[in-house]
């Protein structure tokens, strides 16, 4: 069987799809109105963004050098609904390393296994398509969901940046995690979409 028939962009329920700011900005704007989501995702001060501001962000990202950044929209295969995003960025080609970010936008789409599936797809893309040697991820001490998800996928906590995050009057650690290719190869299950 030809290994190139592996479907990189499709999982059981989700697909890694291109961004479509015209269509997606409305939905993404809704996500930014949820401060919990914003604070789980990013260290920037949470603030709601209008669809226009979202579109502008995409335009700016498109202008930046894109050779070390791969960004996908997460859509359900059943009805092509936007549920989140998945990105590999800050890729250093000479070192075979890169950083991963993943977000599931609406509260009702969280804890449904979408994050785990998106992570599997993105890791396969990182290791099988981009030929990375390791993938890094960062999260905050208070984001136990992300921590559990990453550890289940084989990530190891490598660095604990003490008191790096200041929220609600207290300091939280930032955790840096890493997954090496060899660990991923051991833990990843074969792609069910590939007919071997």
């Amino acid at each position: 069987m030809n290994p190139m028939s592996e479907q990189l962009f499709e999982g059981e329920r989700l697909s890694l799809a291109p961004h479509d700011p015209e269509k997606d900005a409305e939905v993404e704007s809704r996500w930014t109105h949820d401060p919990e989501y914003m604070r789980l995702l990013s260290a920037d001060p949470a603030r709601p963004l209008s669809p226009g501001q979202i579109k502008k962000k995409y335009e700016e990202a498109a202008k930046e050098k894109s050779h070390n950044r791969f960004s996908f929209a997460l859509r359900t295969r059943a009805d092509d609904r936007l549920i989140g995003f998945a990105r590999l960025e800050r890729i250093e080609w000479n070192n075979g390393s890169g950083w991963l970010t993943l977000g599931i936008g609406s509260a009702e789409d969280r804890r449904q296994g979408y994050g785990a599936e998106a992570l599997r797809l993105l890791l396969r893309y990182a290791f099988d398509e981009l030929n990375l040697h390791r993938v890094s991820a960062a999260t905050f001490e208070y984001n136990s969901g992300a921590l559990r998800l990453l550890e289940k996928a084989g990530f190891t906590v490598e660095v604990r940046r003490r008191q790096a995050i200041h929220r609600d009057g207290r300091r939280w650690d930032e955790l840096l995690l890493g997954l090496l290719r060899e660990d991923w190869e051991k833990s990843s299950t074969p792609n069910p979409n590939t007919q071997m």
Binding site: P45, N94, S136, V159, R161, R162, A164
Partner: protein, 199 residues
């Protein structure tokens, strides 16, 4: 006791002056070892013109504080250091970078002196809560120097760089404000609070 924010015992922090400094910086890039200790980009020599353009593009906004390192005895340009405040000011975290391009000054305390200055700047001028850095596991001299000025090892990112066919870890270190303050008290340098300001 030092009375100036920019003066240490061996070096001072000076402005970045691309016009005058770029040629010296370009000479440093002929030293591949220096480049490979400094960052994870592929090492390559740069011309004075290239360095000048790059230095001119250094951001000098409220998130970036860049300095050149000069010796006190003869004002020789020996390196550079800088702080980037991020990911955002609300967290009070700064990332420090430092490089001594002139290798004749390695291992003699010049780097540590400059690092003490930039830490004092971070905690007393920028009022940061912590300062962070990353260093390659093969840069033992730097690791020792950072420990000496009070940085604590916070973990190691496995196999983040590849040099000479081998994978190397990156060490992450950090120093918190209260740790820094304690180290100042221990060294009898509480005087930073009563520093004389230039008149």
């Amino acid at each position: 006791m030092s009375t100036s924010l920019f003066h240490g015992t061996l070096v001072r922090l000076a402005a970045v002056n691309p016009e005058a400094d770029a040629e010296v910086w370009a000479r440093w890039t002929r030293d591949a070892e220096f480049l490979r200790l400094l960052d994870s980009e592929p090492a390559r020599p740069a011309s004075g013109k290239q360095r000048k353009e790059e230095m001119e593009s250094y951001p000098s906004d409220d998130n970036h504080y860049s300095f050149m390192i000069r010796t006190l005895t003869d004002d020789a340009l020996i390196g550079f250091t800088g702080l980037w405040v991020g990911p955002h000011w609300i967290h009070g975290n700064g990332w420090v970078g430092i490089g001594l391009g002139d290798r004749t000054y390695w291992g003699k305390g010049y780097g540590a002196d400059a690092m003490r200055l930039i830490l004092r700047y971070a905690f007393t001028e920028l009022n940061l809560h912590r300062v962070s850095l990353g260093v390659f596991a093969y840069n033992q001299r730097a690791i020792e120097s950072y420990k000496k000025v009070g940085f604590v090892l916070e973990g190691r990112v496995r196999h983040e760089t590849r040099r000479n066919g081998q994978s190397w870890d990156t060490l992450y270190m950090g120093i918190l404000r209260d740790e820094w303050e304690k180290s100042q008290a221990k060294d009898g340098k509480q005087g930073y609070e009563h520093q004389t300001f230039p008149r």
